[in-house]
């Protein structure tokens, strides 16, 4: 089948299924068909031909509306194209539409979108995870070949796990963030969702690389070449089982057993400060967000409501434009950075971050890959955690340490729970060692 036919099939399927699923905020039908026709006529096709892709609503595509799932940006049209998206287009992928997300990528369930709640394709009463829930649900229900998400504390890996697909959080600094609406710049990273490891690798190889427009991308980096799984040293993270679903643990132990049959060198590894990663993450991410989101004042872009003076315009537009979770994080971040509390919270959190990073560095002196479940539970019911932000935060307990350390991780589906919802294994590797992730995840097949 050629790319024009494939694009039409996906568009029809979205029209059929997405009224219930709600993975997409918008589909770009005409543009998708037009670009598919152009690609089909090319003599030499790019590396992503004939793939159809969806992007999260926080990545710019020139001329298209972009809102980061927020009311405050309603009607804003992208003034340029994000580097990662441009690289997809340059390699002849068709971009079919933008997917739903938790507002400004803050959330683990997609319930914080200002549009609607995306449903888990495997059970409509359950959340797809977040914040890239729409991107995960779109791939899981075959509405595109792959999608891009962004991962600040687990926002690719957790929804990949809840929807039973693969999701990669690349090494910080390997994929450009130019054109990604920032949440926490020091942690955000763009990565792919797909149904198999080969597609994940293919997309990662296309989007990675230095970008002069993102000064945090590595100028020169060498992707570490893979070695055979049988030659790898694997570390199983010795984690606290408290609060973990017993089915998740059972599936994880089975996955470890399966890997152990193919690898002789498997050991238990302690990451001593793992437990403190999550609270330190919420301080750092919220602090960066409170600063990054200061630009959304309804004056330069977005929806504007008039007020008596400048101050009341700010108060009103930000009060009405942001949802509850975004307000909570901005307030928490402002508090952590405010005079008198900076040392106690922000500085303390950055020190803990240094310890977490050091723990990982130490462990990678002895092993090539670390394994831990992606999430402590499988998908939860819509509405179940929405009034308890802390219990929602704790869902990210195994994913945030990776962002704090700036290293790479892949979530790979393995097993189901008693409700037939998928659980996953998270493979973690040192920076630039994405190839180890692909090779070790193949060991579960």
């Amino acid at each position: 089948m050629d790319i024009v036919e494939r694009t039409s099939i996906y568009i029809n399927r979205i029209k059929e299924r997405d009224s219930e699923l709600k993975a997409f905020i918008e589909i770009w039908e005409n543009d998708a068909i037009e670009s598919a026709k152009k690609i089909e006529k090319k003599e030499k096709k790019g590396r992503l031909y004939p793939m159809v892709a969806a992007i999260k609503d926080n990545m710019l595509l020139y001329g298209k509306e972009i809102t980061a799932g927020s009311k405050i940006l309603k009607g804003h049209l992208s003034t340029y194209t994000a580097t990662a998206v441009k690289r997809l287009i340059d390699e002849d992928a068709v971009i079919i539409g933008r997917t739903n997300m938790d507002e400004f990528a803050m959330g683990s369930s997609n319930e914080n979108s200002s549009y609607f709640i995306t449903r888990n394709p495997l059970n409509k009463d359950y959340v797809p995870g977040g914040s890239s829930g729409g991107s995960a649900a779109a791939v899981a229900s075959d509405l595109c070949d792959f999608s891009l998400g962004s991962d600040t504390g687990g926002s690719i890996r957790q929804p990949a796990s809840f929807c039973g697909i693969y999701g990669l959080k690349p090494t910080y600094g390997t994929v450009s963030r130019y054109g990604l609406i920032a949440f926490a710049s020091g942690l955000d990273q763009i990565g792919p969702f797909a149904k198999n490891i080969e597609d994940i690798k293919k997309v990662y190889d296309v989007i990675k690389g230095y970008d002069k427009n993102d000064s945090t991308t590595y100028k020169e980096f060498k992707q570490v070449k893979s070695k055979k799984l049988s030659e790898m040293k694997i570390g199983i993270i010795d984690f606290d089982y408290n609060g973990c679903d017993e089915d998740v643990i059972k599936n994880f132990e089975e996955a470890v057993l399966r890997i152990s049959k193919k690898v002789s060198n498997v050991t238990k590894i302690k990451i001593p400060h793992l437990k403190y990663a999550i609270s330190s993450y919420y301080i750092i991410a919220s602090s960066e967000a409170s600063s990054n989101l200061a630009r959304f004042d309804s004056i330069k872009y977005g929806k504007y409501e008039d007020g008596a003076d400048l101050e009341s315009v700010y108060m009103k537009n930000r009060g009405n434009g942001f949802g509850a979770e975004v307000k909570r994080r901005i307030i928490l971040g402002t508090y952590a950075l405010s005079a008198g509390y900076y040392d106690e919270y922000y500085l303390k959190a950055q020190k803990i971050r240094a310890l977490v990073k050091r723990d990982f560095e130490e462990s990678f002196k002895n092993v090539d890959i670390l394994m831990i479940p992606t999430t402590p539970t499988t998908a939860f019911k819509i509405g179940e955690k929405i009034d308890n932000p802390l219990s929602m935060y704790l869902n990210d307990i195994f994913t945030v340490p990776v962002n704090l350390a700036g290293i790479a991780a892949l979530s790979a589906p393995y097993g189901k729970d008693r409700k037939n919802l998928p659980s996953s294994v998270q493979f973690i590797a040192n920076k630039f060692c994405e190839e180890y992730l692909f090779e070790s995840a193949r060991g579960l097949l």
């Binding site: 804003h76 910080y172 919420y282 400048l310 942001f322 402002t334 020190k351 310890l355």
Partner: protein, 90 residues
């Protein structure tokens, strides 16, 4: 934590219900965050970036942004090609 005061610093208007709800939620969150005090960090240097990259300067020369007109089109309020704002200095 004085939610109302911090929200004002962040220029976010909260209604009474939000103030009440957030206060309760922040109490739980801050109590949880205080677990960080269990860790002795006296001799630890904080990190602010995971890449070892230092400032990445380019030549200080203006570069033309080709879609400037699109930025102007996005202005919620404008007069000609100028962004219109409320009085800043009293």
């Amino acid at each position: 934590m004085d939610v109302e005061k911090i929200a004002e610093l962040a220029r976010i208007e909260l209604n009474d219900e939000e103030k009440k709800k957030f206060s309760i939620q922040f109490n739980t969150i801050i109590k949880w965050i205080d677990e960080l005090n269990e860790v002795n960090t006296e001799s630890v240097e904080p990190i602010y970036s995971v890449t070892e990259a230092t400032n990445n300067f380019r030549k200080d020369e203006p570069i033309e942004f080709e879609n400037a007109k699109d930025i102007i089109k996005n202005f919620p309020n404008r007069e000609y090609d100028f962004l219109k704002v409320k009085k800043v200095i009293g």
